[in-house]
């Protein structure tokens, strides 16, 4: 199981702030997980399209497409940050 979090614009677009996700055997990194979510269509396909800007953190560290994702991880999707 993964704990997946969504923030800001993504949270609103998905209508979801967190979900528990069974990790398929063939999903081993951030890129594969993103593809899995994008395949849900609608807002998922639109917000996570390659031409949109979003960020992923794994266990609260900024991640890259090839960052490994393992059972028990906390993965967060969010827009570029705008604090300060």
């Amino acid at each position: 199981m993964l704990n997946v979090l969504y923030f800001a614009r993504l949270r609103e677009s998905f209508g979801l702030d967190t979900e528990r996700l069974d990790l398929p055997a063939d999903v081993g990194d951030v890129a594969a997980l993103t593809a899995l979510l994008r395949a849900r269509g609608d807002a998922w396909e639109r917000e996570l399209a390659p031409n949109r800007s979003w960020r992923v953190a794994v266990n609260q560290d900024m991640a890259h497409p090839d960052t490994p994702v393992r059972d028990g991880d906390e993965v967060a999707f969010f827009p570029p940050v705008t604090g300060g």
Binding site: L5, F7, A8, R9, S53, A57, Q60, D61, M62, A76, F78, P79, P80, V81, T82, G83, G84
Partner: protein, 161 residues
């Protein structure tokens, strides 16, 4: 003559994310209390404006990623300590609803000398704006909108690399 023999007071790093407002004078006084090795205090306050990208802003809501935010701010502070000789670092960032003229963020850096305190304070703000998970949503006359990340904030952060 040896009138003053205050022991060196160690500096501290303090990071807070809170809905409550902060008192700049009190925060600075608390950091400085009893530490006679501090010669320079550089500070920055980010404030909610009533105008952004040409539109009136009625209010703003700041969202964050609890846990990761504090972690990111601690890391940014540690990075600053690796670059400069500093005494204290304080970062206070508010979340929740804010109105124009409300304070959003406070960064205070103390040190022996001004050059390092200034550099670290600006570095902390530049890094915070591009690396700490906060997001702003504004109310304008056309409705609410998520603030877009700014290219010049990325450019400001890249200066330090």
């Amino acid at each position: 003559m040896n009138a003053i023999t205050s022991p060196e007071v160690a500096g501290r790093t303090e990071v807070r994310v809170q809905t409550a407002d902060f008192d700049v004078g009190a925060e600075i006084a608390r950091l400085r209390a009893g530490n006679a090795s501090i010669g320079a205090v550089a500070s920055f306050i980010g404030v909610c404006r009533d105008l952004n990208d040409g539109d009136r802003v009625a209010d703003m809501v700041l969202e964050h990623y609890p846990g990761m935010t504090e972690r990111a701010l601690e890391r940014i502070a540690a990075d600053a300590r690796g670059r400069w000789d500093l005494i204290d670092i304080l970062i206070v960032h508010r979340v929740g609803r804010m109105l124009p003229t409300d304070q959003i963020v406070l960064v205070v850096v103390t040190g022996g000398h001004r050059g390092e305190a200034f550099a670290a304070c600006e570095f902390l703000m530049d890094y915070l704006k591009t690396k700490a998970p906060f997001w702003k949503k504004e109310q304008t006359p056309d409705g609410s909108r998520w603030v877009e990340a700014r290219a010049d904030d990325d450019a400001a952060a890249e200066r330090w690399q």
